[in-house]
Structures are given as structure tokens and as C-alpha cells.
Amino acid sequence: MSKANSTSTRQREEEDEQGSAHGAAGEQLSTAPREERPDTGAGVPAMSVIGWVRWFWRQLTSMRVALILLFLLSLGAIPGSLIPQTSVDDMKVQAFKERHTTLTPIYEALQLFDVYSSVWFSAIYILLFVSLIGCIVPRTGQFVGQLRSRPPGAPKRLTRLPAYTTWRTEAAPEEVRATALRLLRGRRFRGHEVGDAVAAEKGYLREAGNLVFHIALIVMLVAFASGQLFKSEGGKLVVEGDGFSNTLTQYDNFKSGSLYDSDSLAPFSFVLDDFVGTYEKSGPQRGTPRTFEARVTYAEGAEGTERKGVIKVNEPLVVDGTKVYLIAHGYAPVVTVRDGKGKVVSKSAVPLLPIDNNITSSGAIKVMDGYKDKDGKKTQLGFKAFFVPTFAGHGKGQMFSQFPALDFPVLALSAYQGSLGVDSGLAQNVYQLDTSKMKEFKDKDGELLKKMLMPGEKLDLPDGAGSITYEGTEEWASFQISQQPGNGWALGGAIAAIAGLAGSLFIQRRRVWVRAVRGADGVTVVEMAGLGRSESAKLPEELGDLSAALVTTAPVAPAAPEEPDAADTPDGSAGTDATNEAGSRPVHPAEAPAEGAEK
């Protein structure tokens, strides 16, 4: 196996040095930026402003700084995974803030609750992407130049290249060169004849792939950013039998990017026909959800034809570019409230919020208007509601659900009257009862009136104030309706990135030269040599194959005299060593192993 120091890396470092190992032969084998040597004065910016700017730009677009920025990016992402994030779970952030009163101000100052939109995190990735653009533009220009130009002519001493072979043949040199050129072109090398040799190169896709990959990263970032600016996202809770139509007023909550235009909501509507949830019935995973599906009837446009659809956890409904996701579900007990005269004041399914995995739920039932107390005075009613789909049975401690399915539903209510406070102008949580302006209904013992109800049972309010009946239970599902332009671009970018990366990492860029000259004795001497961006084991193999193919038309002539190889080597390598030293930063042998992609 060939031990290797990447010739071209070194060549890059030594680019401007005279006497570099392969000189012009290895020139432009890559478009990677040259590294500034720390000790060559590049680190000392000129005093003028332009000098500073130029220095800064050169630093920013160097590989070294790109590397450091990449490192900082991964380091900077860490706190966001360990500290609760507002964008991920606001509730957790609040809980954290209550628990850690000393840490909170520090974290807030450092924007640690919003790492991924923080100034410092943004600074890292913006710098990285500026650096990336500053890197891609000149590299693309260089690459186009390389595609336009032809591979450089053969270096004087082919023996110095990483893979080399030679033989003598009776065939004429012109004939050998012509055959070699045909042979190389047949293997999709780009080649031409320069002087007494053929120069050929292959593997440009490596560079192209690398550029495509880096450009694709920018495309993905831009797609992602514009998606954030133009997106809209809202939530809607729908009880079985109810519907939703996609207008702003129908949303429970709605967020949009700063450039979003509300006219762009896609017109469609749907009705939740049925929600189906099933759960593991037995075993250690009892209660684990197995299926969730929302069966809907939807219509595209204002008067589109109605169609049936099923929305599952992994399968959003896509209507006109908008996606409807199933996010959560729960129960909505149907209750009827009657006044003292037995007149039905309200009958509705009231969605309650699950508070644990077995869907123990809580919420509030509010009767805003239509209710008059026994004196005929208008007032409002409120009930705190607690619901379990599967009741453990009386005397089994707290009322918590034992199973998420609707096996033994019980609704516990406590009753209040007075002002619900909905007119106060403050936004109100529909799942909570604000009892500050309400009076408790009392039971016989003067305690707060409360009762557990099974379906069909009712709670009578004292003194002929009416009643509330638990009729049955519906299920509700909540949906997220989101529209995010730019997804197509992001996906395209992602695919291009992978393809480019594969090209960049798996393709070898290499050059092959074939020199054929007539020797003093009239016999043609053929020399072949190969140079890659790195010394890969494939290069000598390929050269072997090429020479074997060439030998069929330029067969080996017997009795070759000794090549001046031995004499050449010592001074050759002395020369290389000298350049190495001249590189002023001694390359530690172990630091310069070479590899496939390294250039």
C-alpha cells in the first residue's frame, strides 16, 4: 500500500514555491482555497481600512475559520437540547423558570431559552454562510476555468509522480501517443497531446459535486428561512360532528411568518365525522395507543365536491398545498343545562383537556346566556368539570382514569353561579373557570355542590335553580393546519446535497500522462504516470490497466537498458525534502497522511 502524504495538499501549501514536487502538473487539481501560512505575514493586516477588510474577508473565507465556525455551530446547538426551549415547549420553560429563580435571569440574558433564534447562534450560522458564499463564488469561477482549459502538459520527470511505469517498444512514438489518447478518451478522460506526451484528466465530477453540495446548503437555508417568513400555522379543535373552514376567524390560535398575507389561506373546509382511537388492552404496555384516526369529509374551494378522507398521526390531509395534521384528541361530554322551569338552556359537547396518558381530563362548562335563576333574573352558570373515560370504582382513591378508552366514563362536576367574567375584555381560557366573581352552589352540608355522574345521570342545582345532565360522550380531535412555501426547494436542495456529497466523496480526480519518445537507439520509450488529489490505491491499479491496454498496440521490446531511475531518485527526493523545509512550517510526518478526499 502506498504511504501517502497528499501531494496536492502539500502542493497547495507550496503552491507558489518554486521546485514543488509536481509543479504545474498538480496545479488546479482542486479548487480548495489555499491555506494562509500563519507565519508569512498574512496574520498581520495592513493598517488601512481596506487592508483590514481584506484581511478579515480572507480569514473568514479560509478553511480554518470555516472549520472553527462549524465547530462552534455544533457547540452552540448543545444548550438548546438540555435547557427547555420556548419554541418547543413553552410550558416547560415556565416550569423551569419557577424552579430556578437565580439561573433564570442569567439564562434569559444569554437567550438560552431561545437558543436557535438567539443573536449569538444566528451570528455563528450567518458568518458560516457568508464564509460559505465567499468560498463558493471564487471556487466556482476557478472550476469553470478548469473546465475550459486543458490538463497541463507532462512534467519533465514523470518518475517522480506517485504512480509510474515505463517500457520500450518498437511502435512509433506518434502511434503510441495517438493510441494512448484514444484509449484515455475511451475511458472518458479529457485529454490532448502536448509536445511529446499525452495529458489527460478525469473525475471533474468530484469538484462539481463538492460545489453542488455547498450551494445546496445555501438553497436549503434560504428555503427554510423564506418558509419561516411566509408560513402560516394554526390550530383548531373540532368535536365529532362539527366542522372547520379555513378562514382566519375559525382558528383557535394562529401564527404566521412576518411576510405572510392572510388572503393566501387556501379555501377548503372539512367536517370531523368520527374519531377512532384504540389502545393496547392488556400486557405491560396496557393503555399504549395503537391507532388514532380522524375520519373527515372535506371539500376543496368554496363549493367543491365533498370527499371522504382519513387523517392519521403520520398521514396529514393535503388540500391545495395546505396540510392538516392530527395533533391531539380527547373527550367532550355532552351536557344539557336546564333552568328551574325545566327549559333547556344549552345543550352542547364540551371539550375537556387531557391531563394524563389515560386521558383523565379537566375543563369548564360555561353557560353564558339564556339562563335565568329562580327569581327570573339573568345570570351565568359555571361548572368545573373533571372527567375519566375509565373509572376505577368508588373508594379507589383519587378519581383518575385507569384506561384511555371510553369503558366506564364518569363526569364529576362542581357548580357556580354569577359572572363568568367573559365580558371583562381579557382573553379567557375556555378550559378554566374564573370563579372570582362567582358564588358556589352549596349542598345540604353547606359545602361546594359537587357530584359524580354516569351517562344519563343529572345534577340538580339546589332550590329549584335547574339541573345539568350528562347525556353521553363525544370525542374531539385537534388539528394543525399549516402552509409553508419553500418546502419543495428545501427538498430539492436536500437531494442535491446528498448527490453532490456522494460525488465529492466517492469520485477521485486524477491526471494521467503518457510520454513516448524515440530513444537514442531508435527504440521508443513509453512512460506513463498518474497523479491524484490524494494517493489512493486505485491510481496505480488504473495506471496498470491503462498500460496493459496500451501494451497491446505497443508491445514491450526486449532488453531495455537500465533506466536512469536510481540516479534520479535521491536528488529528486532531496529536492522534495527541501521544499518541505522551505514550507517553513515543518509538516509532521504523521500529520500528513493522505486520503481519498483530501486534497
Binding site: K3, L67, A77, A497, N580, P589, A590
Partner: protein, 359 residues
């Protein structure tokens, strides 16, 4: 209990038996590898020292390692001469754990054969587990772990079958596989069961299988990197005239040269990096379907991203003067540590949307 459930239960039991059996066979392979190293230590190799004892200038002057590029029977084929660039240590690879001794080699072959058997048994365990739940066998940490070690061993055997010089991985690999399976059957064990709805998706097959494959192969790369660091220190010590301890010499001398190990680690990491990129993108697409957003900085997503950026930094380091070699190797290890944390740490210590994975 119905009939189907009963067959599933007995399949799940069969799977457990197979996993335990594979552990037994891996243990035998482990001892065979130990024997290989022990008998191998009786050989006197000392190639590295010999190669390094020539003066550095002469070493790089040493012309052209001759390499025969195969031969055609009919026509004489010109010989291809390869030459290393200046500045590289011309150190030959060690002879492997067996050290060229007959007994060591015999035990090495036994170890590899046992590893093949254990691999087949373990793969059987994974497959019966999959059949027992009738889905992809990677919905919880136990299943990840058994699949992970199966894939790691499988990749090693594929490299062996391709005649790559990788037998030196045998002992560290079998050791970690035993560790991995030990943790899996004791602390991570979960009864075979169905999936929660969020995992019902063909993306489970795509995303998780590639994630496991990437991890297993990154692991092989990390082993190469660690051994590179040891071997490199050893070569440095020799080159600067030091005399390493007897044990260190005996072990290091039999490993491939530092530059071969480094090259191996690089090739492995570079080959998997595009697949890891794909894994993350596939995960994002799945998250888009399952949770209504492609990227939400969930801890698992964050750590996949960190791992990805860390490997990208490693690849950049390899292309940046002054960062090659040891520094790049440390970055590679850091990147693998990120992967490991993502795999174990995030599931155990951090709660997030991915935490249904059942520890």
C-alpha cells in the same frame, strides 16, 4: 389469548433464546481472539522500529515501493511503481494479531469463524423478533441495540469478505458487542409489542435502518481512529528514539501502520457521511408528516444535527493544513461521542418527542 398472539409470543421467546445463544458464541469468539493475541505475541516483529531506524531522510528517499499491478498471462505487463510523497513515514503494516505465528493464526481463524456463527445466530434473533411483532425490529432501545451490534458485526464481516485488512478490529468489536448485548438484555429489555401510532410509517424502515447502519459503521471508524492514535504515539516515540514498553510494542507492532489506520478511519467515515445526511433528511420528512413540522429542534434532532456538523468539521479538518492527523482524529472521536450521546444519552437523560422509544 388467540392463536396468532400465541405464535407471536413463542417467536419472541425464540428470539430471546437466540440472542442469549449468540452472546455465548461471541464469548467463545472473544476468548479465541485473546488466544490469537497471546500466541501472536511470541513472534518478534519489529518492522516499525526497523523501518524507522533508518534515518528519516533516507526513509523518504527509499524509492518506490514496488507494486505488481497484477499480470496478464499472454502479454508482458509493465510494472507499476508507486512512490509515497516525501514527509511520510514509510512504515509497513503490522502482520495482524496472530503476528505471523501459526498458532495465533489458527486461533484467529477460529475466532472469525465463531464470529460468523454468532452473527448468524444474532441475526436470527433480530429476525424472529421482527416476525413476533410483525414490524421493523427497531422501536425501542432493546431492539436498536440488538440490531446495532448485528449490523456492526455484519459490516466487519463484509469488509473481511472483501479481503480488506480489517482482522485487527475483531477483538475490540467482539468486546463491545458483548457489552452492548449485555446492556441490552439486562437494563434495556422490553417485551415485544406493537407500535404507538406515531411510529406507524414506512419511514420507520427507511430512517431508522439507515440510522442504525450509520452508527454501526461510524463505530468501526471510531475503533480505527482510536487505534490510529495509539499506533501514531507509538511510532512517534520510536521515531524520536524512545523505547516503548514491551507490552505496548507487542500489541502496536502487530497493528497496521498509523497511516493505514488513519486512512481506514477516514474512508469509513467519509463513506457513511452522505448516508448520515440522508438519514437526517429522511427523519425531517417523517417529522413533517408525523408532527407537522420538518425541523423543531427536538433533542434528538439537535443531536443528530450536532453529530452531522461534527463529522463535517472532521472532513474539513482533513482538508485543512495544520489540522490533519491527530487533531482531525480527535474531532472524529468527538463526532462519534455525539452520535453515542444521541443514541443513549438523549433517550435516557433528555425528554423530548422521541422519548417514546421505550428505554
Amino acid at each position: 389469548m388467540n392463536l396468532a398472539a400465541a405464535t407471536n409470543e413463542s417467536l419472541a421467546e425464540a428470539s430471546n433464546v437466540l440472542i442469549y445463544s449468540s452472546m455465548a458464541v461471541y464469548t467463545l469468539a472473544f476468548f479465541a481472539h485473546i488466544a490469537e493475541w497471546v500466541f501472536g505475541s511470541r513472534s518478534k516483529v519489529g518492522r516499525t522500529a526497523a523501518a524507522l531506524s533508518t534515518s528519516p531522510a533516507k526513509a523518504s528517499a527509499a524509492p518506490a515501493v514496488k507494486a505488481q499491478a497484477g499480470g496478464t498471462a499472454v502479454l508482458e505487463r509493465p510494472e507499476v511503481i508507486t512512490r509515497s510523497a516525501a514527509g511520510t513515514r514509510d512504515v509497513p503494516d503490522g502482520p495482524g494479531a496472530a503476528g505471523g505465528t501459526f498458532k495465533g493464526d489458527l486461533y484467529g481463524r477460529i475466532a472469525v469463524s465463531l464470529t460468523v456463527v454468532a452473527f448468524l445466530v444474532e441475526a436470527g434473533g433480530v429476525i424472529t423478533r421482527a416476525l413476533s411483532v410483525q414490524r421493523a425490529p427497531w422501536a425501542n432501545m432493546y431492539e436498536f441495540s440488538i440490531t446495532f451490534s448485528t449490523v456492526a458485526v455484519g459490516s466487519y464481516l463484509v469488509l473481511l469478505a472483501l479481503k480488506k485488512n480489517v482482522r485487527w478490529i475483531g477483538l475490540p468489536l467482539v468486546t463491545t458487542v458483548l457489552l452492548d448485548l449485555g446492556i441490552a438484555v439486562t437494563t434495556l429489555y422490553t417485551d415485544s409489542d406493537q407500535l404507538v401510532p406515531a411510529l406507524h410509517s414506512y419511514w420507520l424502515w427507511i430512517h431508522v435502518s439507515t440510522a442504525i447502519l450509520c452508527g454501526a459503521v461510524f463505530y468501526l471508524g471510531a475503533v480505527g481512529t482510536i487505534l490510529y492514535l495509539f499506533r501514531d504515539s507509538y511510532e512517534n516515540k520510536l521515531a524520536s528514539g524512545g523505547t516503548p514498553g514491551k507490552f505496548a510494542s507487542s500489541v502496536m507492532e502487530r497493528l497496521p501502520s498509523a497511516s493505514s489506520l488513519d486512512k481506514f478511519a477516514y474512508r469509513i467515515n467519509a463513506a457513511v457521511f452522505p448516508l448520515w445526511t440522508f438519514t437526517i433528511i429522511a427523519g425531517a420528512i417523517w417529522a413533517g408528516d408525523a408532527w407537522g413540522r420538518y425541523w423543531g429542534w427536538d433533542p434528538k434532532e439537535v443531536w443528530s444535527f450536532i453529530t452531522w456538523v461534527a463529522y463535517a468539521a472532521y472532513l474539513h479538518a482533513r482538508a485543512t493544513a495544520g489540522w490533519k492527523g491527530r487533531k482531525a482524529a480527535y474531532l472524529a472521536l468527538l463526532a462519534f461521542a455525539c452520535w453515542l450521546f444521541n443514541y443513549y444519552g438523549v433517550n435516557i437523560f433528555v425528554s423530548g418527542l422521541h422519548s417514546y422509544a421505550g428505554v
